[in-house]
């Protein structure tokens, strides 16, 4: 794996500090972080909590592919992507993406690029638990 890219898929709470510390670099003037948190509602329903599962080995490879494109396209210095697994409560962190660049515009663009792609291609699945039952998000029409 590229030495400027840190990818972790974790069963415990995610740490912004850990992602920040990974990407901070003396040549960089800007760090953009995106933190995806669990919302208490979705499509008009109250959400109680979530569960994430992943095809971990493939998920890491797919995230790595996305980060390599971002590195090439937006000249990133370092990238950290940490994703949570298992039971996650409302307001807890589901994903953290941190990107450092020399110029800030690239940091915003790379960070948004990575979260957009991650949501489309990385084999991680979210089950939403509502008042009455649960369902896999995006799974059915």
């Amino acid at each position: 794996m590229d030495s400027s890219i840190d990818i972790q898929i974790l069963d415990q709470a995610l740490s912004i500090d850990q992602c920040y510390d990974y990407v901070i670099h003396e040549s960089c003037g800007g760090i953009c972080l995106f933190v995806g948190t669990v919302r208490n509602h979705n499509k008009g329903e109250d959400v109680k909590y979530l569960e994430f599962e992943s095809y971990k080995s493939m998920a890491i490879k797919e995230i790595h592919k996305i980060c390599l494109i971002a590195k090439e396209q937006f000249h990133t210095q370092s990238i950290a992507v940490h994703h949570r697994l298992g039971h996650v409560e409302i307001t807890e962190k589901a994903v953290i993406i941190a990107v450092s660049t020399v110029h800030r515009k690239n940091a915003f663009q790379a960070c948004e690029f990575i979260i957009d792609k991650l949501k489309k291609t990385v084999p991680i699945w979210k089950r939403e638990f509502l008042e009455n039952g649960s369902y896999w998000v995006n799974a059915t029409p």
Binding site: M58, V95, K120, I124, W125, A139, T140
Partner: protein, 78 residues
């Protein structure tokens, strides 16, 4: 041939891994046909993908029994 099942695919198959013994499944499209016969609910979910050796495969991709195969229902990470 072993096939990993995640998310709603695991719920439909009733297991996180299914074994396929027939010789008929030698490509991704044959795997799809097999799954949809064995577990008709696969026809009612959103388009799923198949991964071979931890990478997305095309319908025409051939499958060897030694491959790592996985059903990838629509993802929802992040």
């Amino acid at each position: 041939m072993k096939v990993l099942c995640f998310g709603i695919a695991r719920d439909i198959a009733g297991a996180s891994e299914i074994k396929i013994t027939t010789e008929e499944v030698q490509s991704v499209s044959q795997l799809r046909r097999y799954l949809e016969e064995q577990f008709p609910k696969f026809q009612s979910i959103n388009q799923y993908m198949v991964a071979i050796n931890e990478a997305y495969a095309e319908d025409t991709t051939e499958i060897k029994s030694s491959d790592h195969i996985a059903i990838i229902p629509p993802v929802s990470g992040g």
